[in-house]
C-alpha cells in the first residue's frame, strides 16, 4: 500500500483583520468593503515561503524517522531563489540525509498537487520509499486590491511512503490547459489578473469537473465514494456551486478557510487536505483537486493508521495559535511594500560569505551543535574543544540537533537601538533542556509577554535580506510560548515545616524542596497519639528525599509542644540557612474521646501540640520574619474545629483556637509583609469513607492539599487571614460571617426578651452576611446598622435586555434624522434572550414589530449579549462587524443609519 504517511501544517501566527485594509484604503477603493470580512494569515517580517515550509515539514516529521526520507520536494511560486535549489535549503534546515533527491515544483497554483502526485508516482514506481512534499506560498499583492484581501500565507507538508500509510493513494487524473486567469512574469513581483468572471466560469467551473469526472470514470467510483471533497476556490458561492454540480452534499465540501486564512497559494490544496485528514475517520474517501493551468485530481482512502499519528500542531493547532492585528501599515512594511526611513545604522554591510556558510551549513541552516562523548555536554556551536571547563577534550563531539529541543529564557531584552523591521529587537540567552545555551533572536512575541523561565521553541527564520546582492540569509530564532505562566518557585526561601516526617507535612516539605526552598524538616518522631519521642527516622528520610532531588534540607527532631522546642526549631533554620521565610504549623496528634471520657491529660496533650505548638514555633519565627520584612505562616485547622465532629472536643477546640491565633497574628504581621493563612485539610472520616466513591478516596491524599499550601506560602499570595478547605481536588474558603443584624431599643428603652423574640428572624438572619477583617470594623458596623425597613437596592444596574432594547426603541427614535428615509431593518438576534424584530422607518416615523417582515432593506444578525453591548456602546460597531460578531445582509451601507435613527446612549 502506498499513500500519505504523515502530515503537518503551518499558518503564520499573525492574522490581518481584513477590515483594517478597508479602513486604510477604503477612501481609495470603496468596493473593498464587500470583501472586508474575516482575517487573512500574514507572514511575520522574518518569514517567507521557505521558512514556512520548514515549519510545516517539522510538524509533519513529528514522530517520524527522518533518516528514512529519500526525497524532498518543495512546491511554491514564491521561493526566495530562482537559481539555488530551495528544496536543498529546506533539506539542510531539516537536517535530512545528503544522499537524497530534491526538487522545487513551481510556476503554477497547481504545483502542490503536482508535487504530491509526482511523489506518489515515484514511490509507486519503487525507486524511492519515502518522500517529503511540502507546499508553501507567500504571494505578493498590490495594496488595496481584492487579492490582497483574499490571499493568505501558509504551508502544508505531507510525507509519502509505503509504511504506516494513513491515507491510501488509489489513483489520479490530470488535465493540462494553458488557461490564463492570471500570470506572474519572471520579472514581476505581482500577479496580472484577468476578470474574476473568466476564472469562475471558464476556469473553475469547467476544468475542475473535467478532472474530477475523469478520475471518477478512471477509478469507476462516484461521489458516493467520497466523504471529503478538497479543492481550493477563491469564491465561496462558486465553491458551493461546483460541489453541488459534482454531486457533493454540503457536508462533504471541505471549507476553503476564506474567513480565517485566505487562500495560501500553492499550499492551499494540501493545507485543506491536512484539515480533511485531521477530521477524517478510517474508510473515508478523500478527493483532492488542484487547480492551475489545468487540474490534478487525486483519490485517497483513509486507513486505521490515522489514529496512530503522534500529536502535532497540524492545521487546527496552527490556526489556533494566532495574533490578530489591525495594523495594515505593518503588513505593508513586513512585505516590503512600504519604504520608511531606516537610518544610517541600517546601512551596515550584510554580505553573506558563501564559503563560511558552506563549511558551517549544518550549524547555521540545520541548527546542529555538538554533544561531547566524554562528558555529555551539549553545546552550540559544535567546536573542536569541549566547552565544559572540567572536560575541554579535543575532537569528542558528535552532531547534536537543537531544532526540536525544548528551551527556556535565561535573560532577555527589547532593543530599540538595533535596526529592526519590527522594533524592539527582542533577543536573549536561551537554555536548552539537556544542556546547551545560546544568545539568540526571539520572534513572534511581544516584549511585555516574555518572562525569565518561559519556554521557547526553535523556528527557522529569514535573518537578513541582502537587497544589494539579492540574497536571503536564514538562521534559527526562539519563539516564546507566551501562554505559559511562571511556575511558583521558592528559590532562595527558607521554610520550616513542623510534623514533616509523614503525611501532609512530608508532602509540603518535598514540594517546597523540589521548588528550590531550603527546608527545615521537623518531626518529633512520635506515635499518632503523641506518645514516644525523638525518633530521627521520618525527618531524615524526608531530608534525604529532598537532597536526592538536588534540593537543600536539614532535619530537626524537637518537640513543638514546649517553648524550648519551638526556639530550637527556628534556630536550626537560622543556623543552617540564615533566615526564616515560611513556617507551616502542621504538627498534630489525636486523642479522640467522648466528653465524659476526655480526661484532662487527653485534653491538655492535644492542645499542647496543636495550639501551644503553633505558638511556640511561630513566636521565634515571627521575629526572624519581621527582621527580614517577609514571611508566610500557615496554620492548620480542621473541619472538626470549623464545623464540629463527634469525639473531638479537644481537637476541635485546639483547631478553632488556631483560627483566633491567625486572626490577630495577621494584623500584627501586616506591616512586615507577613501573611498568615489557615488550611483545613479535608480528611475522610469513617462515615464519609463508606459513602465516597473509590476514585474520590484515591484523591484523598496529601498531594492534593500541598498545592494550595504552597501557593499560600508563595510571594504571589497577597491574602492574609483566610481559611481554606482543601482536599481531593476540592477547594473552598471558610469564613466567620456576620449577618446584617438589627438595632433594637433606644436611650430610654432597653431591649426586652419580647423584643428579641419578635425580631428573631432579623437577628438570626445570615442574608447579606459578610466577613470582617478586624474587631474595630465589625463594631463600627454593628453600631450603625441599616435603618429598619429600608428598601433593598435594585438588582442589576439599569440592565437592558434584548426585548427591552426594542421596547425602548420608539422612545429613542430620532425623527429628525429619519426625514425622507424609507428603510426597513430585520433584526435576527440569536441566543436565549434573542428573537426576531422588524423595524420600519418611513417619513419620520418608526414601527417595531416582533417576528420577520417582508423584504427588509438590511438584515442584522447578532448574538443577544453582543447586541446589548452594541446598543449600550460597549461594543464598537465596526469592530463587531470586522470580527464577525455582527452580520449584515442586504444593503450594508444602510446599516450605518441605525445609530443615527435611534439614540440609545443619550
Amino acid at each position: 500500500m502506498i499513500g500519505i504517511t504523515s502530515y503537518g501544517a503551518y499558518i503564520p501566527r499573525l492574522r490581518l483583520d481584513r477590515m483594517a485594509i478597508y479602513q486604510s484604503m477604503g477612501w481609495f477603493a470603496p468596493a473593498l468593503i464587500s470583501v472586508a470580512q474575516g482575517e487573512r494569515s500574514m507572514c511575520n517580517y522574518d518569514e517567507d515561503s521557505l521558512t514556512m515550509a520548514v515549519a510545516a515539514s517539522m510538524d509533519c516529521l513529528i514522530g517520524k524517522d527522518k533518516t528514512k526520507i529519500d526525497a524532498g520536494y518543495l512546491c511554491s511560486t514564491s521561493l526566495p531563489f530562482l537559481d539555488r535549489l530551495n528544496a536543498g535549503i529546506m533539506a539542510t534546515a531539516l537536517n535530512l540525509r545528503s544522499d537524497i533527491n530534491t526538487a522545487d515544483f513551481t510556476s503554477s497554483q497547481r504545483a502542490g498537487t503536482t508535487g504530491l502526485l509526482t511523489a506518489l508516482d515515484v514511490v509507486k514506481s519503487g525507486s524511492r520509499k519515502s518522500i517529503l512534499v511540502t507546499a508553501s506560498d507567500k504571494r505578493q499583492t498590490r495594496p488595496a486590491g481584492f487579492y490582497e484581501m483574499w490571499f493568505g500565507d501558509g504551508a502544508a507538508s505531507v510525507l509519502v511512503g509505503d509504511e504506516d500509510v494513513v491515507a491510501e493513494f488509489l489513483g489520479s487524473y490530470c488535465v493540462t490547459y494553458d488557461f490564463v486567469d492570471h500570470y506572474r512574469g519572471s520579472k514581476s513581483e505581482f500577479d496580472y489578473t484577468w476578470e474574476e468572471r473568466w476564472l469562475r466560469e471558464e476556469g473553475y467551473a469547467k476544468i475542475i469537473p473535467e478532472a474530477v469526472n475523469g478520475l471518477f470514470k478512471k477509478l469507476n467510483i462516484t461521489m458516493n465514494d467520497v466523504q471529503k471533497l478538497v479543492f481550493p476556490c477563491l469564491f465561496k458561492a462558486e465553491h458551493r456551486a461546483i460541489g453541488k454540480k459534482l454531486g457533493a452534499t454540503p457536508e462533504k465540501l471541505v471549507d476553503t478557510m476564506h474567513e480565517v486564512t485566505g487562500e495560501t497559494g500553492v499550499a492551499h490544496a494540501l493545507l485543506m487536505l491536512v484539515g480533511a485528514l485531521e477530521s477524517s475517520k478510517p474508510g473515508d474517501g478523500i478527493l483532492l483537486v488542484g487547480f492551475g493551468q489545468g487540474s490534478d485530481a487525486l483519490y485517497f482512502k483513509v486507513t486505521e493508521n490515522i489514529g496512530k499519528l503522534a500529536e502535532r500542531a497540524g492545521l487546527k493547532g496552527s490556526l489556533a495559535n494566532k495574533k490578530t492585528t489591525d495594523n495594515y501599515m505593518k503588513f505593508l512594511k513586513f512585505r516590503d511594500l512600504l519604504n520608511p526611513e531606516m537610518g544610517i545604522r541600517a546601512e551596515a554591510p550584510v554580505q553573506t560569505t558563501m564559503t563560511a556558510l558552506w563549511r558551517n551549513r549544518r550549524m547555521i541552516l540545520g541548527f546542529v551543535g555538538g554533544k561531547c562523548r566524554d562528558c555529555g555536554t551539549a553545546q552550540y556551536p559544535r567546536a573542536d574543544l569541549c566547552v565544559n571547563p572540567a572536560c575541554g577534550h579535543l575532537g569528542t563531539q558528535d552532531d547534536y540537533e537543537f531544532a526540536n529541543v525544548k528551551a527556556r529564557v535565561r535573560s532577555f531584552t527589547g532593543d530599540l537601538l538595533a535596526v529592526s523591521v519590527d522594533p524592539p529587537a527582542i533577543y536573549g540567552m536561551v537554555q536548552f533542556e539537556g544542556g546547551g545555551r545560546f544568545m539568540m533572536d526571539f520572534t513572534d512575541s511581544e516584549l511585555n509577554d516574555i518572562k525569565i523561565g518561559m519556554p521557547v521553541r526553535m523556528s527557522f527564520r529569514r535573518r537578513v535580506v541582502d537587497t544589494v546582492r539579492g540574497f536571503s540569509q536564514y538562521f534559527w530564532k526562539a519563539v516564546p510560548q507566551t501562554d505559559w505562566t511562571p511556575e511558583i518557585d521558592f528559590q532562595g526561601r527558607v521554610a520550616i515545616v513542623t510534623g514533616a516526617g509523614g503525611g501532609l507535612g512530608r508532602a509540603y516539605a518535598l514540594e517546597l524542596g523540589r521548588r528550590g526552598a531550603k527546608v527545615v524538616v521537623n518531626d518529633f518522631g512520635g506515635a499518632r497519639d503523641g506518645s514516644g519521642s525523638g525518633a530521627a527516622g521520618p525527618a531524615d528520610m524526608v531530608v534525604e528525599a529532598i537532597k536526592a532531588m538536588g534540593g537543600e534540607a536539614v532535619a530537626n527532631y524537637d518537640n513543638v509542644a514546649t517553648p524550648e522546642g519551638g526556639q530550637k526549631i527556628v534556630k536550626t533554620a537560622l543556623d543552617a540557612f540564615g533566615k526564616v521565610d515560611i513556617l507551616i504549623n502542621n504538627a498534630g496528634i489525636l486523642r479522640d474521646k467522648g466528653i465524659l471520657k476526655m480526661e484532662p491529660e487527653n485534653w491538655q496533650a492535644v492542645l499542647a501540640v496543636h495550639l501551644n505548638g503553633a505558638y511556640n514555633v511561630t513566636r521565634p519565627a515571627f521575629e526572624a520574619m519581621r527582621n527580614n520584612g517577609y514571611g508566610r505562616i500557615i496554620m492548620t485547622t480542621s473541619a472538626a474545629g470549623l464545623y464540629g465532629n463527634f469525639g473531638q472536643t479537644n481537637y476541635s477546640s485546639a483547631k478553632l483556637g488556631l483560627v483566633g491565633f491567625m486572626n490577630t497574628l495577621k494584623l500584627e504581621g501586616a506591616k512586615y509583609n507577613i501573611k498568615v493563612n489557615t488550611i483545613a485539610p479535608i480528611a475522610a472520616s469513617r462515615l464519609t469513607q463508606d459513602m465516597m466513591p473509590p476514585e474520590m478516596l484515591e484523591r484523598m491524599n496529601p498531594d492534593y492539599v500541598a498545592g494550595i499550601v504552597l501557593y499560600l506560602c508563595s510571594e504571589e499570595c497577597k491574602d492574609s487571614g483566610s481559611i481554606f478547605n482543601a482536599g481531593a481536588g476540592f477547594f473552598s474558603r471558610a469564613a466567620i460571617l456576620t449577618g446584617p443584624g438589627v438595632m433594637l431599643g433606644d436611650e430610654t428603652h432597653v431591649p426586652t426578651p419580647e423584643m428579641i423574640r419578635d425580631n428573631w428572624d432579623k437577628i438570626n438572619s445570615l442574608e447579606g452576611a459578610k466577613p470582617y477583617s478586624e474587631l474595630n470594623m465589625a463594631i463600627m458596623d454593628f453600631l450603625t446598622p441599616p435603618a429598619a425597613g429600608a428598601p433593598a437596592p435594585p438588582s442589576g444596574a439599569g440592565g437592558l435586555d434584548v426585548a427591552g432594547v426594542f421596547k425602548k426603541m420608539p422612545s429613542v427614535f430620532n425623527a429628525a434624522a429619519a426625514a425622507g428615509k424609507d428603510v426597513t431593518f430585520q433584526f435576527n438576534i440569536s441566543g436565549p434572550a434573542g428573537g426576531d424584530w422588524f423595524v420600519a422607518v418611513k417619513d419620520g416615523t418608526c414601527s417595531i414589530t416582533t417576528g420577520k417582515g417582508a423584504n427588509p432593506t438590511t438584515t442584522i444578525g447578532m448574538a443577544d449579549t453582543d447586541f446589548v453591548d452594541l446598543i449600550t456602546g460597549k461594543l464598537d460597531g465596526m469592530k463587531a462587524f470586522s470580527s464577525g460578531k455582527l452580520k449584515v445582509g442586504g444593503d450594508m451601507m444602510k446599516s450605518q443609519l441605525i445609530g443615527k435613527l435611534f439614540k440609545f446612549n443619550q
Binding site: 537610518g343 544610517i344 545604522r345 551596515a348 554591510p349 550584510v350 554580505q351 553573506t352 560569505t353 564559503t355 563560511a356 556558510l357 558551517n360 550549524m363 547555521i364 555536554t377 553545546q379 552550540y380 556551536p381 567546536a383 566547552v387 565544559n388 571547563p389 535565561r410 535573560s411 532577555f412 531584552t413 527589547g414 532593543d415 530599540l416 537601538l417 538595533a418 535596526v419 529592526s420 524592539p424 529587537a425 533577543y427 536573549g428 540567552m429 537554555q431 544542556g435 546547551g436 545555551r437 545560546f438 544568545m439 539568540m440 533572536d441 516584549l447 525569565i452 523561565g453 535573518r463 540569509q473 538562521f475 528559590q491 532562595g492 510571594e715
Partner: protein
C-alpha cells in the same frame, strides 16, 4: 616564579584630551592634545621615548590599520610602535604594553596612548558592524546592540536575587545620577550636567530596562601615559614619596563558558570576578573593600557598573543594588566610583577609555583633581570590560603611591 609588576614601573606623565563630540578635530589632533599634556607633565623630550603602544579599536572608521598613523601624528622618531586592539580593554592593553616594556628592562621610557574618533559615523551609538563582525559570527549572532546585550544583566539579576524591576531601575538610576554629579565637576568631561533620579527614570527606553541615562555617551577622545622605572623617575627629579607606581595590571578573557556552558546565570561577569582576584593578588591587596580608595569601572551602562561592584569584590553578591542606593559609591561614600564622571559623562572612545580612567586615578593620587579631589587616596583601581556579558575581555589595573 613570576613576581608581578608591583612598584616596578612609575608613571611620570599623563595627558587627556577634552572628551566630547569633537566635530572640529580628528584622531590625529586628539592624539596631539593628550600627548602634549603628557610630555609636558613628564618633563622629558620626545627623543627620550624609546617605544610606544598605541590603542585604537574601530580602525575602520577612524585611523585605518597599523601604527603609522600615530607615528605620523606625533612625529615620533622611528621608534617601535605596536597597535593594540582588544575591544574596550584596548586603552588598558596599550598601558600594559608600555608598562611591560619598562618592567622587562627592554626600555627606559615608554609611551602608551589610546585614541578613538567615534563621531564620524553619522548616527548615534557605537558603529554597527554588520557582516564585518567575522564571516561566521555574522551569520548567527542575534540582531543585537551593546545596550541590549548588557541590559540582560538586569533581567538576570532581578530573577536571580528576586528583586523587583522597580528596585533595579532605582538602583541603576542612582548609579547614573552619581556619575553625572561627578562629571559636572570635570572640565574635560563630555556631559557636564547633573541629572535627577526622576529625569533618569523618565528617559526613553533604549534597550529594556535601560533608558537613555543608563547608557554612556558616545564621544571622541584620547589619553596617554609615559612610564619609566622608579629609579629613572627619581633621577629625573621626582621625589620618591610623590611617585605614582603601577601595583598591578591584569586581564581575563572569556573562553565560551558563559555563553556556551550551562552554569552561568547571566547576572555577573565571570571574567571580572577572576581578573579582580588576580589583580588584588598582584597588588598585594587582601581586603579590597577596605583598601581600595576609589575606582573607575567600566560603566558603559549603569547596570554594568552595578554588577561590577560585586565582581570587584567590593559589594556582597546580591547587595550591590542596596549599596548603590545607600550611597556607598557616591563621591562622599565609602568607595567613590567614577569620580571623574565615568564613561557615563566622558563617553566611550574605546581606545582611550582605559587610559582616561588611569589619568583620573593619577591626578587623585597626586592631589591634582581640583574640585573632585578625594582625601588621601591610597589605591586607585581602573576596570574595563569589552565585548558582551556572555563573552568578553576584562582588564583591571591598580595604581598607588610608591612603596605604600
Amino acid at each position: 616564579m613570576a613576581s608581578g609588576i608591583r612598584d616596578k614601573v612609575a608613571i611620570i606623565g599623563m595627558g587627556c584630551s577634552r572628551f566630547g563630540e569633537r566635530w572640529d578635530i580628528g584622531a590625529e589632533g586628539l592624539m596631539v592634545e593628550a600627548f602634549q599634556e603628557a610630555i609636558a607633565d613628564a618633563g622629558i623630550e620626545k627623543k627620550d621615548i624609546q617605544a610606544a603602544w598605541y590603542g585604537v579599536c574601530m580602525d575602520e572608521i577612524n585611523v585605518g590599520k597599523g601604527a603609522p598613523s600615530m607615528g605620523v601624528a606625533l612625529r615620533l622618531p622611528n621608534i617601535p610602535i605596536s597597535r593594540m586592539e582588544n575591544y574596550c580593554a584596548t586603552g588598558t592593553e596599550a598601558f600594559r604594553g608600555a608598562v611591560y616594556g619598562v618592567a622587562s628592562g627592554a626600555y627606559d621610557i615608554c609611551l602608551a596612548l589610546g585614541v578613538e574618533k567615534l563621531k564620524d559615523t553619522g548616527y548615534g551609538g557605537l558603529p554597527a558592524w554588520g557582516s564585518t563582525a567575522g564571516t561566521l559570527m555574522w551569520q548567527f549572532f542575534p540582531n543585537a546592540t551593546a545596550p541590549g546585550l548588557f541590559a540582560q544583566l538586569a533581567s538576570a539579576y532581578v530573577a536571580k536575587y528576586k528583586i523587583q524591576n522597580d528596585d533595579i531601575k532605582q538602583a541603576i538610576a542612582h548609579v547614573s545620577v552619581k556619575s553625572h554629579a561627578n562629571g559636572a565637576l570635570n572640565p574635560k568631561a563630555h556631559l557636564r550636567k547633573a541629572v535627577t533620579v526622576d529625569q533618569v527614570l523618565a528617559a526613553p527606553i533604549i534597550a529594556w530596562p535601560l533608558g537613555l541615562f543608563d547608557c554612556c555617551g558616545v564621544s571622541d577622545g584620547s589619553a596617554c601615559a609615559i612610564v619609566t622605572t622608579p629609579e629613572i623617575a627619581q633621577k629625573l627629579g621626582r621625589k620618591k614619596k610623590d611617585l605614582v607606581t603601577v601595583k598591578a595590571v591584569q586581564l581575563a578573557v572569556s573562553n565560551g563558558y558563559e555563553g556556551g556552558f550551562n552554569e552561568w546565570d547571566g547576572a555577573n561577569f565571570v571574567t571580572t570576578d577572576k581578573c579582580a582576584a588576580a589583580t588584588y593578588k598582584e597588588a598585594g591587596i587582601t581586603n579590597p573593600r577596605e583598601e581600595i580608595s576609589m575606582f573607575e569601572c567600566h560603566d558603559c551602562f549603569s547596570i554594568t557598573e552595578l554588577v561590577t561592584y560585586e565582581d570587584l569584590h567590593l559589594s556582597e553578591r546580591g547587595q550591590a543594588w542596596k549599596d548603590a542606593l545607600n550611597g556607598m559609591y557616591d563621591r562622599d561614600g565609602k568607595i567613590p566610583a567614577q569620580i571623574d564622571g565615568g564613561l557615563k559623562c566622558f563617553g566611550h572612545p574605546i581606545g582611550a577609555s582605559g587610559l582616561r580612567m588611569i589619568y583620573e586615578m593619577y591626578l587623585q593620587l597626586q592631589g591634582r583633581a581640583d574640585k573632585r579631589q578625594l582625601e588621601n587616596p591610597r589605591y586607585g583601581l581602573t576596570h574595563n570590560l569589552g565585548g558582551f556579558p556572555h563573552q568578553n575581555v576584562c582588564a583591571i589595573s591598580i595604581i598607588g603611591k610608591y612603596g605604600k
